[in-house]
């Protein structure tokens, strides 16, 4: 009987919860209602959605991979080292989470643009990042890497130190311990961080359009394509959005155990 009373929710909270559920569901339902179902394939190809999907997959997967490649080592430094200014380093590393992505794009332009701090040297060497797929990957990774850093650092902090000690006491070198003990134990967190980073990368808009532009087939990702279609072909925009909704729901369903583990 105590269970029943504990499980019941006050009426006021139930009303607000219903409002919250409606607030999230209603726009999605509206999107489904407005979708041109009879000519779905036609509107998708007219708005260039398939090309944009291909660019989006390439850019988001490459950005997620780059985020893991750079984010996990950064998480090690933040979790394990005693370098001075570690708190500041963490704040800077996580800044892209709160920074408006457009600002991130502008900052990247200032650094890697053709007349940027480093970009002018790159340009002299014949390397151009702006308006290239590689640039879109960089802009996207800038925004999504903090998610990997957060997940991996939390995983490293939660890992009991005993296993690495056991490996060292078993005669393993630091590198062998890292490869065979630490990284395999950190795998769930790295996977969760990578999936979150990938999902974030798939929806990236501001940094990409600012730094890499909006070139169909090269830097125009699905969100950019939706935004462009919205000006000329609202039906195509709705249809393209549907792809993003489908992918997002699939990610949430696949990751629900990892993301919502008690």
């Amino acid at each position: 009987m105590t269970t029943a009373s504990r499980r019941s929710v006050p009426a006021g909270i139930a009303v607000l919860a219903a409002a919250a559920a409606l607030f999230v569901t209603l726009p999605l339902v509206a999107l489904l209602v407005r979708t041109p179902w009879s000519d779905l394939a036609g509107s998708l190809s007219r708005s260039g959605a398939w090309t944009a999907l291909r660019v989006s997959l390439v850019v988001s997967l490459a950005a997620a991979a780059l985020s893991v490649l750079l984010g996990v080592p950064l998480a090690f430094v933040l979790a394990r080292s005693r370098v001075p200014g570690r708190a500041l380093l963490r704040a800077v590393a996580l800044l892209p989470l709160v920074l408006p992505p457009v600002v991130g794009g502008i900052a990247l332009l200032a650094a890697l643009g053709r007349s940027g701090l480093i970009g002018r040297w790159l340009a002299r060497a014949g390397i151009q990042l702006t308006f290239t797929t590689a640039g879109a990957v960089l802009a996207t990774a800038f925004v999504s890497m903090p998610l990997v850093v957060l997940a991996a650092e939390a995983g490293l902090r939660a890992m009991p130190p005993g296993f690495e000690e056991a490996a060292r006491a078993s005669g393993a070198s630091r590198l062998y311990t890292l490869r065979r003990v630490t990284l395999p134990m950190l795998r769930p967190q790295i996977v969760a961080g990578a999936v979150l980073a990938w999902a974030r990368a798939l929806g990236e808009f501001g940094a990409t359009i600012t730094f890499a532009g909006n070139l169909p087939g090269r830097t125009q990702t699905l969100p950019l394509s939706v935004f462009v279609a919205q000006q000329t072909d609202p039906g195509g925009a709705v249809a393209t959005s549907l792809i993003l909704v489908a992918v997002s729901i699939a990610v949430l369903l696949l990751m629900r155990k990892r993301l919502f583990a008690a």
Binding site: G162, F163, A166, A169, G171, S173, R180, P184, M185
Partner: protein, 352 residues
């Protein structure tokens, strides 16, 4: 191989300053209460704490990379992402032994330690306490280390597995050619497995001796309370309601049956009886509730402050702790005929 280690560690107000020696093939137990510095000492011996000098036959082994050491941690620390087999093979793989050879030697080690082949692919979380202990032992022993370190190897096990692992350990330690250092707060572990015991209190060694020496003449209150206990090992059989008979090579005892243990014969059981729980009588006691009556003569009386420890040569021999007043009142002295009594509930089955 003989072990010589000098360990000095300072941690704030705590200092650990220990010199220890262990002969070839022998087992040294470090017995101490929580906070005595046992874990720090073990870490230092394992090379996990800097500023330790550990030498085997005169050569500093912590300089060798990797050191010839095997460790069984109290919480086992089996790698959760690996199978039992991969855990056992880990030290070989870390020493660049090729995978097929490492696997073959791991299979052999696990099988020798009594883990059936069907369990070799299991992950640590699917292993029972006793199985996990066997895998941890296999991992520690697979390189045939010159120095084997054991941290409370049986304390996390239930009573059935504890007896099995204890006799397994006794076998291993007999055949192990290197030195073994056993760190524990459990006097039973120390008394049953070690050749010599070093009592560690607050970072200092208070006594070193054989189990018999420590049991009969403990030199500190801690040693007297924990190490100076009567220890009986044998086979436990159900007797009547709530009681069992422990048959040891030196005689029999009636013990309270451990709660939750099924009424069936159980081998390799260790029971302890605190000397303070033993009552001495100069005439044959009758009509009391004590079911253990040990009849014999006083073989020695040693004084320790306000108390005296009286060794009675009975079947089995027992040590009783009495006040100095009782020594005078009863006229206790070597050769006196006495009856030592203890209630069945005071004979405790291995901390269970």
């Amino acid at each position: 191989m003989s072990l010589h280690a000098e360990i000095a560690v300072e941690r704030g107000a705590f200092t650990l300053d220990v010199t220890l020696e262990a002969g070839r093939g022998s087992t040294l137990a470090i017995l101490g209460p929580n906070g005595s510095g046992k874990s720090t000492l073990l870490s230092a011996l394992a090379g996990l704490t800097p500023r330790a000098e550990v030498s085997l036959d005169g050569a500093d082994i912590l300089q060798g990379e990797p050191p010839p050491i095997g460790v069984v941690f109290q919480d086992l620390r089996l790698f959760p992402t690996m199978s039992a087999l991969e855990n056992a093979a880990f030290p070989l793989r870390a020493r660049s032994v090729r995978r097929p050879e490492a696997a073959a030697r791991a299979v052999e080690a696990l099988t020798r330690l009594g883990l059936p082949e069907g369990r070799h692919r299991a992950r640590p979380r699917d292993l029972s306490g006793g199985e996990g202990q066997r895998v941890a032992l296999a991992r520690a022993l697979i390189t045939e280390p010159a120095l084997l370190l054991l941290d409370e190897p049986t304390s996390a096990l239930d009573i059935t597995a504890r007896g099995q692992v204890r006799s397994l350990l006794a076998d291993i330690l007999t055949s192990h050619s290197g030195c073994c250092v056993l760190v524990t707060h459990d006097p039973v572990e120390a008394m049953t497995l070690a050749d010599r015991i070093m009592v560690l209190e607050n970072g200092r060694v208070t006594q070193v001796g054989t189990p018999a020496e420590i049991r009969e003449t403990p030199r500190s209150r801690y040693a007297a309370d924990l190490a100076g206990v009567n220890l009986f090992a044998g086979t436990l059989t159900p007797l009547d309601t709530g009681a069992g008979r422990l048959t040891t090579p030196a005689g029999e005892l009636i013990v309270a049956w451990p709660a939750g243990l099924p009424a069936a014969q159980l081998a390799d059981v260790v029971a302890i009886l605190r000397p303070a729980d033993v009552t001495l009588h100069t005439t044959e006691p009758a009509g009391g509730s004590a079911r253990n009556i040990f009849h014999g003569r006083v073989s020695s009386v040693s004084l320790d402050g306000e108390r005296a420890r009286v060794l009675v040569s009975a079947q089995p021999p027992v040590v009783a702790e009495v006040t100095l007043g009782s020594v005078d009142r009863l006229g206790l002295g070597p050769g006196l005929e006495v009856w030592a009594t203890a209630k069945a509930v005071e004979v405790r089955i291995d901390r269970g």
